[in-house]
């Protein structure tokens, strides 16, 4: 099954390679991995999308927790959560009919055209991975020059929050 694991990790050189190395050394799947600092600059938040049997997912969680740099971990998939992926896509639009059609589709998917030239549209789209896939599919035959996706990030719904435990 697909799992989204979020971790707070010390914002230190090499932290990312410890996580990436763990996945490659133990042969775990990694579908996407994103990382960036948080509001606390000493911490990074990493979101890993992975898949495997229940036993493997349990091991992945434990092995990640065992990494000395990992401060907190949460398997988002265990509770209700929201996930987002961002896509930037550059499309060749030759004639006005095609321009109209692409614009219409982008609107339907709540995408935004963020750059325009005589022949190109660059569209920004945010949503779940499925939604981005659906958009790509709906574009059909158009000439796509580039697709960039951020990889999934996620956050739990409601009160639950992945934070430092207060040390007071």
């Amino acid at each position: 099954m697909r799992h989204i694991i979020s971790i707070l990790i010390e914002n230190e050189a090499g932290a990312l390679s410890r996580v990436a190395g763990l996945f490659s050394a133990r042969g775990y799947n990694i579908e996407s991995l994103t990382v960036a600092p948080t509001n606390d600059s000493s911490l990074s938040r990493m979101t890993i999308v992975t898949s495997g049997t229940d036993e493997i997912i349990v091991q992945i969680n434990k092995q990640l927790n065992k990494l000395i740099d990992v401060v907190r971990l949460s398997d988002m998939t265990e509770g209700e959560h929201i996930e987002r992926d961002m896509m930037l896509i550059k499309i060749k639009v030759d004639d006005s009919a095609e321009r109209e059609e692409v614009k219409r589709l982008a609107d339907i998917f709540r995408g935004q055209i963020i750059d325009v030239t005589d022949e190109l549209y660059t569209i920004e789209l945010t949503g779940s991975g499925d939604k981005l896939d659906a958009f790509l599919k709906s574009l059909g035959e158009v000439d796509i020059l580039e697709v960039v996706r951020s990889g999934t990030i996620g956050i739990s719904r409601g009160e639950a929050a992945l934070q430092l435990l207060s040390t007071s």
Partner: protein, 564 residues
């Protein structure tokens, strides 16, 4: 007062109580060597190869329970140390490895003797650090010792660029340390303790399977107490030998690929398995599909990732082995309920029947020296209480089977990584830690040549190590697999051009004795025990066709042993 980074490092090591370090100098660590030279509290042991420094520190750590410390230079110094670091990692040995690094300004420039030490060692350390600021040295060393010695122990590498060791900073050593990202031990649930004791008491065919975790945590007293209180059979893993005295009647010896018939059948047929500080390694379980088919399992381990990794357990108890066993003992002693004595008596009858197979028998009447015989005699002469290091191969398995360890921390071998070349340098670390004790290195003519240069170190420090070379003229364990599974096609398992080990030992200033007659074995061993100022190299010419039995072939269940 301001100190240089090198002095801060040395002062920090002193604060950690370090008395010995094993190392080899080079450009990147010259400031550190200069600082070492100017003090007397820490003794530096000069090895002849960095791999040996790590194995020696490893032997020191395993035999004392205190972390071993290594100092090597950048580049090739660090890469030579990697085998020893990985060896320590696989067997959860606490170790601090300080590696020099090229000056900060050159990092990433393919500088002379530069390697990405943190990158190379990452998969085989518990943690590693690159120190980027002289002010961080003290704190990093504190963290390194804390991480290496708590929870599941392991090696920690601290990589220090040369310029950092010359810069100055105020020295103050942190008294305590806590890390928000590292909580080595979580408290154990009392209800889980209660449940585990109930399960143990309900057993009709119980089995205790104890491993290296008991030795690492110094939990043998609790293990012995609970085993004897229950009167249950116990088997030790290769890493756990000595935690329970081998000569006690409840001890079934080692289990696993070359374990005893009674231990493996006991495992296969038990209804409750109590795994204590053991990790269900593949050399123990054989085919996991067939492992302990009828057992409910209680498992104590300090490392959550060891729980249900290979074999699903029913009651996990995560914590220090000693703490958990103490808690279980307390509950157990209060219970009125006792184990079902009739069932237990029947189970012991069954076990004793298996025992009577005498699975470790060998041809005692042979004229040729049988390796098992040498080890049995070694046991007699040293009462099973010597420190015995080993290399890897048949001799290692025979030592495990026939030396019959009576005490913990006496059996020092590379179980996880299986590193040939481990035995001799490890023996140096053990002997330096225990100058008055008998230290033997049981080895083979293949393995001993992988770190033979250490005979020089041993001479330099006058270490009275007894090298027991079981010289069968072949890479025996490889040969055995080729005999069993490759129809006797002995590819590269025969060694030509062996040195004359006696002359070799003598050229290093040691004693050497070649033993070709069975009737000379005891005399040679007795003679060896008398030498106190240098090593003795006993070259026993043994049967090259002898195999290690019993054996569970790959993919087999515990009840599918090949017996002699």
């Amino acid at each position: 007062m301001e100190l240089t980074g090198a002095d801060i490092l040395i002062e920090s090591l002193k604060k950690e109580g370090v008395d010995l370090i094993f190392g080899y100098p080079g450009g990147a660590v010259l400031h550190i060597y200069d600082a070492l030279y100017q003090q007397e509290d820490i003794t530096h042991i000069l090895v002849r190869h960095e791999q040996a420094a790590t194995h020696a520190a490893d032997g020191y750590a395993r035999s004392t329970g205190r972390p071993g410390v290594v100092l090597v230079t950048s580049g090739p110094g660090a890469t030579n140390a990697v085998t020893g670091i990985a060896t320590a990692y696989m067997d959860s040995v606490p170790m601090i490895v300080i590696t020099g690094q090229v000056p900060s300004s050159l990092i990433g420039n393919d500088a002379f003797q530069e390697v990405d030490c943190v990158g190379i060692t990452r998969p085989c350390v518990k943690h590693n650090f690159l120190v980027k600021d002289v002010k961080e040295i003290a704190n990093t060393i504190k963290k390194a010792f804390y991480i290496a010695t708590t929870g599941r122990p392991g090696p920690v590498v601290v990589d220090i660029p040369k310029d950092i060791t010359a810069l100055k900073a105020e020295f103050s050593y942190p008294e305590t340390i806590s890390m928000r990202s590292y909580t080595p031990i979580e408290p154990v649930e009392p209800s889980a303790i209660e449940k585990s004791v109930e399960l143990l008491l309900s057993a009709k065919r119980p089995m205790i399977y104890s491993g290296g975790g008991v030795v690492l945590d110094g939990a043998w007293d609790e293990l012995i107490e609970i085993t004897q209180l229950l009167n249950y059979p116990i088997t030790n893993t290769l890493m756990g030998l000595g935690a329970y005295p081998a000569d006690d009647k409840q001890c079934l010896g080692m289990l696993g690929m070359h374990g005893t018939y009674e231990a493996n059948l006991g495992m296969h047929n038990c209804d409750v398995l109590f795994a204590v500080g053991a990790r269900f390694d593949d050399r123990v379980t054989g085919n996991v599909e067939k492992f302990c088919p009828t057992a409910k399992i209680v498992h104590i381990d300090v490392d959550p990732t060891s729980i249900s990794k290979n074999v699903k357990v029913d009651i996990p108890l995560i914590g220090r082995v000693s703490t958990v066993l103490k808690a279980m003992l307390e509950v157990l002693k209060k219970k009125k309920q006792k184990p079902d004595q009739d069932a237990l008596a029947e189970w012991w009858n069954q076990i004793n029947e298996w025992r009577s197979m005498d699975c470790l028998k060998y041809d005692r009447d042979a004229d040729i020296i049988k390796p098992q015989y040498v080890l049995e005699e070694l046991h007699k002469i040293t009462h099973g209480e010597a420190y015995v290091t080993s290399d890897v191969g048949q001799h290692q398995m025979w030592a495990a089977q026939f030396y019959r360890f009576q005490k913990p921390r006496r059996w020092i071998n590379s179980g996880g990584l299986g590193t040939m070349g481990f035995g001799l340098p490890a023996a140096m670390g053990v002997q330096l830690a225990h100058p008055d004790e008998t230290v033997c290195c049981v080895t083979g003519e293949g393995s001993i040549q992988m770190c033979i240069q250490e005979l020089a170190t041993i001479r330099q420090y006058s270490l009275p190590i007894k090298v027991i070379n079981l010289n069968n003229g072949v890479l025996g364990m490889v040969r055995q697999w080729q005999e069993f599974f490759y129809q006797g096609r002995y590819a590269m398992s025969y060694m030509e051009s062996l040195p004359d080990f006696v002359m070799l030992a003598e050229s290093y200033g040691h004693c050497g004795i070649k033993v070709t007659k069975k009737s000379d074995v005891v005399d040679a061993l007795t003679e060896a025990m008398k030498i106190r100022d240098k090593a003795i190299f006993l070259d026993f010419i043994t049967d090259s066709k002898e195999n290690v039995y019993p054996m569970i072939p790959a993919g087999g269940g515990q009840n599918e042993m090949i017996l002699i």
